[in-house]
């Protein structure tokens, strides 16, 4: 068996295999480095073929021809190596690379201009020698001094490779690449020295350039293969992470479904929403449907769209947590209450995103609305009851102006029937009639307001005016009961936030209770104190009496429903009052006065505090 044939054929096939692999990878990934390894491998395999034929040929002319053509694959290898270092290692001095390419190109050109070839001035024969038990033929002839130029070109390439290796070594992340570069440099040095001494006849060996270049191709392939393996590893890690993510998503969806929660995410820069499956089915969106802001807000109840949009924008602008309740118009047209909360986060690219959860709270909301409705009903019933109790004095309050109107009208009739009437007197009579009528209208307006049954309207209101209106309504009752009113109602208090009718109801109730408490007092001991003042950023209304006050036991149950100290009372008045005040964000409490009697007072939020 011919061992040289075996070794050179195996070397060539190894190069071709590596070439084929990198051609496939290069075609898939379109990376220049893989194509360069392919070209280098092909050139080395060609070179191996030339060397094998050369050592088997006894013909000097064939030696001359083959040694000429050997320079073509060598030039290809040098060019590919330089380009590989530039494109893959991203280092190496440009001018050194160009010098190496230029030197090799010059050798190639001279090779085809001179006879018989670049390395020899004359080839005289082929010398048979024994090599690994086989006879091979070595070139015999006069070596040309041009070989020194070839050696110089080889050293330029080695210098370029050494420089690139050094630069890569300095960049820590490229150290593995630097090791490969060092290997290639060693192989190239070995090739240059071995070739030079073989041509010079110092070594009695065949040309073994391809075997050394095989090491170069292997090193290049290893460098790129490492990248391919890394990419493949990353791909598998990505796949595993994707599986884990899907699993986690599934678990989250199950947990969310069990808790009745939906997830949502809003990207402020693109204006796009992502909503989990539950939320999508509620709103009638498809599983993969893209949801932009318009699309999302279309699913919100028209009355809640703008407040929700404003709340979301504010949360993103101020980078504050978002919390709110709004109505969603479901796919079937049904209205669903949704409680939503979220927080602003910076996305991977630094863009602001809002991420949160929402839950269907329709049942709670309906129950809450029912409670509000019941409270309104109760408050209204309480007002009606209260007015029923006051009906006598209210009738008197209306009767007074009616009687005044009647007597003024009769006086006018008499004046007209007697002497045609004095115009000045008639004018005064009419003025009295108008004033009395306005007074009666005022009483009726107050009654209508209290009897009105409607929604709570929280508006800014002047608390002193509200208290004064209540006192005006009760004027006859207070007079009838001979209660002296001491009112401190400054006009310059800040506006409170509340429902006028309900606050007036509270005041009427407290004043009536105070009067009831003083029913057993002597006339001079019937003092009612009504005061409005600013209090801890809000407003305070206090109603004090000179009654017997209440015991410690009673104080604990004063605001309990159906607790009363009156013989014919229902015990709902104070309970309703406390409910009303609490619904306004205030507090109602009572205390005994040091000098006797009790004071009931309540607070309300001021308009400024409510806005904040």
């Amino acid at each position: 068996m011919s061992w040289p044939t075996v070794v050179w054929a195996m070397g060539a096939s190894a190069c071709l295999t590596l070439s084929a692999i990198h051609l496939v990878i290069g075609l898939r990934r379109l990376t220049p480095a893989n194509f360069l390894v392919f070209a280098t491998g092909l050139a080395v395999a060609t070179l191996a073929g030339f060397e094998l034929v050369l050592m088997k040929s006894p013909v000097p002319e064939e030696h001359a021809r083959l040694l000429r053509w050997v320079h073509v694959p060598i030039a290809v290898i040098v060019i590919c190596l330089v380009l590989f270092v530039w494109t893959h290692v991203w280092s190496g001095r440009r001018w050194l690379g160009w010098m190496a390419i230029g030197g090799r190109a010059l050798c190639l050109v001279l090779n085809f201009l001179v006879q018989p070839n670049f390395n020899y001035s004359r080839i005289s024969g082929a010398r048979p020698v024994r090599f690994f038990g086989e006879t091979i033929f070595l070139t015999v002839g006069t070596v040309s001094p041009r070989g020194l130029l070839g050696l110089l070109s080889s050293f330029l390439l080695i210098a370029f490779l050494a420089d690139a290796t050094r630069a890569a070594w300095r960049r820590r992340e490229r150290r593995p690449t630097a090791l490969v570069g060092a290997s290639i440099t060693v192989f190239m040095t070995f090739v240059a020295v071995l070739t030079f001494f073989t041509i010079q006849g110092v070594l009695t060996l065949p040309f073994m350039i391809s075997l050394c270049y095989l090491g170069v191709v292997a090193a290049m392939g290893y460098e790129l293969g490492f990248d391919v393996v890394r990419v493949s590893q990353l791909g598998e890690e990505l796949k595993a992470s994707e599986v884990a993510r899907r699993e986690s998503e599934k678990r989250m969806s199950l947990a969310a479904a069990a808790a009745g929660v939906e997830f949502w995410h809003f990207d402020a820069s693109t204006g796009e929403y992502w909503i989990s499956e539950k939320g999508r089915s509620l709103r009638g969106f498809g599983r993969e449907e893209r949801i932009d802001a318009q699309h999302f807000f279309d699913s919100v109840h028209p009355e809640d769209r703008e407040p929700l949009r404003a709340a979301l924008e504010s949360a993103i602008r101020k980078e504050e947590p978002f919390e709110g309740e709004y109505r969603v118009v479901g796919a079937g047209g049904e209205t669903v209450w949704v409680a939503s909360r979220g927080s602003v986060e910076a996305g991977p690219d630094g863009r602001r995103q809002l991420r949160g959860t929402s839950a269907d709270v329709t049942r709670r909301k309906v129950a809450e609305l029912e409670v509000v409705r019941n409270r309104l009903e109760l408050a209204h019933l309480s007002r009606v009851t209260l007015l029923g109790e006051l009906s006598g004095s209210l009738a008197h309050e209306i009767n007074q102006p009616l009687a005044a109107i009647l007597s003024n009208a009769q006086a006018g009739q008499q004046l007209l029937s007697r002497d045609g009437g004095n115009s000045e007197e008639i004018r005064e009579i009419f003025a009295d009639i108008v004033a009395a009528d306005m007074r009666a209208s005022e009483v009726i307006r107050g009654l209508r307001a209290l009897l009105k049954k409607g929604e709570v309207e929280l508006k800014p209101l002047r608390i002193s005016e509200v208290v004064q209106d209540a006192l005006d309504l009760l004027r006859s009752d207070l007079l009838y009961r001979r209660v002296n009113v001491f009112a401190q109602l400054p006009r310059d208090l800040p506006a409170a936030i509340g429902d006028r009718t309900q606050i007036q109801q509270v005041v009427v109730n407290l004043v009536t209770n105070a009067c009831d408490a003083m029913d057993g007092n002597e006339d001079r001991e019937r003092w009612l104190s009504v005061r409005a003042a600013a209090h801890e950023g809000g407003l305070l209304v206090a109603v004090g009496d000179r009654g017997p006050g209440f015991s410690a036991e009673e104080s604990e149950r004063l605001f309990d429903p159906f607790f009363t100290t009156k013989p014919h009372g229902l015990g709902l008045g104070l309970a309703v009052c406390r409910t009303i005040v609490s619904a306004h964000g205030g507090r109602l409490w009572a205390m005994n006065n040091p000098a006797g009697g009790a004071t009931f007072q309540f607070t309300l939020r001021a308009q400024r505090a409510a806005n904040e």
Partner: protein
């Protein structure tokens, strides 16, 4: 030059190359048992 020697040598060269490649990949990623199996298959 014996073409039979060349052909068989080329085949051996290709197998050896693939073996070395997959062995190095296996060394790199010990979890890839498939590569090990391929190496065994090449060696028979």
């Amino acid at each position: 030059m014996s073409w039979i020697t060349v052909a068989w040598s080329v085949a051996i060269g290709i197998c050896m190359t693939l073996t070395v490649i997959h062995l190095s990949v296996f060394t790199e990623r010990r979890s890839r048992v498939a590569n090990n199996a391929e190496t065994e298959a090449v060696f028979g």
